[in-house]
């Protein structure tokens, strides 16, 4: 049974820390998890429904004023299911780079096209690094009182290593393509 839906686990993982609404979950995806994961509303809400049906989470209406709002909490069954998954070996990590793909076919275009892709790649790498460094600093500062963010910090540091590597490679690649023609 390869390739089982991971969205369920991500949601359970997030709920294991605190109760959240579907909207909150999406926020986490776009910030804390964005480095290595993502999901849209179109997959989050249906997943929540499924988890509810399976009794892995439970819902509570916490509407404020006229704004409807459903907050989800993980159940014992959900926790067990999550823990089981966490204890199993990783199936696969994916890296899919359109940048490297276009670069690979660099023989088919002007070198200036390839250089442009590298410049763009470098720019996003630098921007991402800036964000990650900020995250690292703020996580480090709250770590003593709240050791819950220890693992979060670990993933941020992985991102920093990665993007530093990208940046270094961009410099090397730009030199390579710039000089020799």
């Amino acid at each position: 049974m390869p390739n089982t839906k991971k969205t369920d686990y991500v949601i359970l993982g997030l709920l294991s820390h605190e109760p959240l609404t579907g909207y909150d979950i999406k926020q986490r995806m776009d910030t804390s998890l964005s480095l290595f994961w993502g999901a849209s509303y179109g997959s989050i809400y249906p997943a929540l429904e499924g988890l509810l049906r399976d009794k892995k989470i439970k819902a509570a209406d916490v509407s404020t004023n006229g704004r409807e709002k459903t907050q989800y909490t993980i159940t014992a069954k959900g926790t067990k299911y999550l823990k089981q998954w966490l204890s199993e070996p990783v199936e696969k990590d994916e890296f899919r780079s359109e940048t490297l793909l276009k670069l690979f076919f660099g023989n088919c275009t002007e070198p200036s096209d390839s250089l442009a892709h590298i410049v763009q790649f470098r720019k996003t790498a630098e921007e991402t690094l800036a964000v990650l460094h900020q995250m690292e600093a703020s996580l480090e500062s709250v770590l003593k009182e709240d050791p819950a963010h220890r693992y979060y910090l670990l993933t941020v540091r992985c991102g920093i290593r990665m993007y530093e590597a990208y940046e270094a490679w961009c410099g090397e690649a730009q030199k390579e393509l710039g000089t020799k023609q």
Copy 2:
């Protein structure tokens, strides 16, 4: 028009270098491109059909003995289409890591689970790195006679930087989780 199918471009890119069969294309995906791209037969053969219909490639029967074999060649129309894509800015690069995902939720399990994921990650990083170093060496040795592999080499070196970063991070992470309990 976001998210247009990239498989077409990959196939055209590969064919721009030499005529290939569907089987050959799959081989390239699993070797030269595997670092940053992939595709299954179930997406390759249908894509070839579409490209043929659009006159972006042409087919030739090169069956040997009783073994049927169709070799595809890129047309002028296909070349133009590929070049256009190569000149456009990259839409997105994707990184989706189940390892980092499980690690992020490390608070929910035993630290030994998290350590096991890191050990596994490190092992694959080392193995990949060994392969990439071999590729780098062989590409460097043929580069003088055949400068066509210049861009291929560039992507291999990006992979080396990446996996070196992963490896370094694994060491750091193991120390972090190992000592502080």
